[in-house]
Structures are given as C-alpha cells and as structure tokens.
Subunit: 226 residues, 2 copies
Amino acid sequence: MALIDVKVLGSAPSPYVNRVQIALNLKSVNYEFLEEESGSRSELLLKSNPVHKKVPVMIHGGKPICKSLIIVQYIDEAWTDGPSILPSDPYDRAMARFWVAYVEDKLWPTLKGFLRAEGEAKAVAREQIMEGIMLLEDAFAKCCKGKDFFGGDMIGYLDIAIGSFLGWMRATEKASDIKLIDKTKTPGLFGWAERFGSNAAMKNVIPKTETLVELAKTMAPRAKAQ
Amino acid sequence: MALIDVKVLGSAPSPYVNRVQIALNLKSVNYEFLEEESGSRSELLLKSNPVHKKVPVMIHGGKPICKSLIIVQYIDEAWTDGPSILPSDPYDRAMARFWVAYVEDKLWPTLKGFLRAEGEAKAVAREQIMEGIMLLEDAFAKCCKGKDFFGGDMIGYLDIAIGSFLGWMRATEKASDIKLIDKTKTPGLFGWAERFGSNAAMKNVIPKTETLVELAKTMAPRAKAQ
C-alpha cells in the first residue's frame, strides 16, 4: 500500500476544510485527516501556519500549504492526472475566480453577519444575501453552459467554493426564517445543490445540517460575547 | 498595425490598476488606457463590472475581466508567449498566492488604517505594519532563491502585487514618521524595491511619490467624512 504523504489539518464542520477534502476526493488522493480540537491549536498547526494559525493546512511531502482556495488550486496543479478542477479556458478560469472571490469576500461575510444581526441590520443583511443569491443564480446559468455544474460536466473550483457552504446555508434556513435556495425562485441553484450534495466526492465530508444547527447555537453566544 | 483589442478601464494613481498595466507591459501587450474620471463611473465601467462597479476592468476581445489579481492571472494564462508571471512549480505558485493573499487581506488594509488612525490606534497599526514588513522580508529570502525578485529572475505575481504599492508606501513614509523599507532593517526588500522600480515594465506606470502625497492629502478629509 502506498504511503500517504498527504495530511489535512482541519476541523470536520469547517466549510473551508471541507473544500480541501472535496478537492482531494475529486482527484482520488488518499489523505490522513488530523482533527484540530475545538478551541486549541496543535503544535503541528502552529508550525505549519505560523502567519495565520488557522485550519485548513495541507501537508504534502512534508511541505505545508495554507488557505483553502490556495490549497484547492494547488491540488489541481499538483495532481494533473485526475479531473481538472479549474476550467481550461483562461476566460472561464477568470469567471470562476471572479465568482469565487464574490462569495468569499461578499456573500459569506454577509451570511455570517445575518446570523448575528438583529432588528433593522438583519433586514438589510437579508436583502443583501438574497441579492447575492440571485446573482449566483444568473452566474450559474452563464458558467454551467447548460450542464450540471458551475464547472460544466464536472464539479469545479466555483462548485467547491459555494458547495462547501451548503451545509451552513441549510442550517441557516433551519435556524432563521430565510429561504436561500428555492425550487421556484432559484431553480438553477436548486438543481445544482441536489446534484452537488449527492456526488460521490461529498461522501462523509459535508456535515449533517442538524449537527451544524446545534453547533451554530453554541457559537452564537460566543460571537455575541466577542 | 495590429488592432488593439485590449482596453484597460482605470485610474492612473490606483495600485490595483497599475498591476494590470505592469502585467501587460511584461507580456509586451499593447492596450488602450481609458481613464475613469475621479468621482464618476462611465457607462462602459457600469456595463463591464455591474457587480462591483470598480476599476480596474480589462476588456479583451470585447469580454470584460474584473479585479486586479484575477486580471493578472488571466494575462498570464491568455498570453503564454511572454515571460511567465506565476511560477511553474505548483508549490512555488501556492507560496506566491499565499503571500499575495497576505498583503491583500492583511497588510494593505492595515496600511490604509494607519494613515487614517490617530493616537493609540495609530501605534497599534504601526506595530502591525512593521511585523508584516518583516514577514515579507523573510518571504523574499525564501521566494527569490538568491535571485533578484520574488519571482526569481523575473518580476512575477507577488512582485506585482507588492510592487504596485511601492508608490503609496513611499508616500506614506513622506507623510508620516514611518520607515517601511529600510536599507539596514530590510535589506532584501530594499534591494528588491530598487530593482523593481527601475524595471522597464514600470515605465510610466507607478505614479510619482509627490503626486501620491498630494492625492493623499485630498483623500484623507474624504475618508474622515465617511
């Protein structure tokens, strides 16, 4: 049996960590998962990511790589045998990167803000999220080119960046009176989410919605106390 | 004469816009520069970047690409004839991306904050910036591998991401009592900055320090009024 020279330092419910797991699964790369205990940081984590001290970190052949989206791009470039994660056409790559940056810098921070906000601020955040979701619905139509995923026939970079948050999106829907992905309003994203979630690469990766709802309850008081 | 099918929508003193100009110069690609007037947005800009409504936008063969770092990567992938902007080795690429994300998400926001801060907050920001600069000094030693630039023999992705801010860094030094790049404390970055600034690809790109100092004076009151 081949030596596993890939380690992933992570925390199972983290969508950022899940991205790395999904990318490795897509490329059929075996890896060892080293769970970081909640609230503490291992020596290996501090040594591997001294700048940010955060998961995920992937260690490949002894070399650490940090930050989820950088790791996903590295996986695509280091294991060229498997299916491509980024599109091959430069313009399609730029579009995928554009929407990945959008969800990363705009949509997820707004979603996190929504969960913590109250009163008028919550109403504003709700509107911003729904605008963002409608932009993604349009982006899906443009990127998928009539196929199953943002990446076309296969799950790609943008699918991973958004799909890794599907569990948290569903947990948000359960915990609040908001509907993010809807069969009627966002039929493209609705079908995409079903296909993404049932793909073999997600097996044992995206946490159960119930687990995240419970986790969110314990996190909310902490967030308020900050 | 070949038709110029590359347009850059920008504002000359913007380091983000400068990144696109530097990358095009490195690849010897001719382009038409369309200056966006300060305080207003052209119809072309609004149409080309409806999500963020910001410069830079590059239009290549009629197709718009937005966000400076995404445009730089696109330029590298669309014009493969010229020198490579990103390293060829996957791990070196990941390292370049890591430090680019660091300056983008941490260092420049701290630098902007420093310019606006007063009293104790300014002292904290100053310490954070100097920590960041020392991290870059170390990163330079690791990335350049004894050569002239972060990218090795040639100006690369990380050089562009940092170097585009050299004018603003010098303007900050002139406007405040802070020394960011110093011959004794950061000899690696000091030599690098000299080489970067005198490279042919910078010709007519990075604005003069005096221009930026004057511009900063007009921007500071606006920032405070927000």
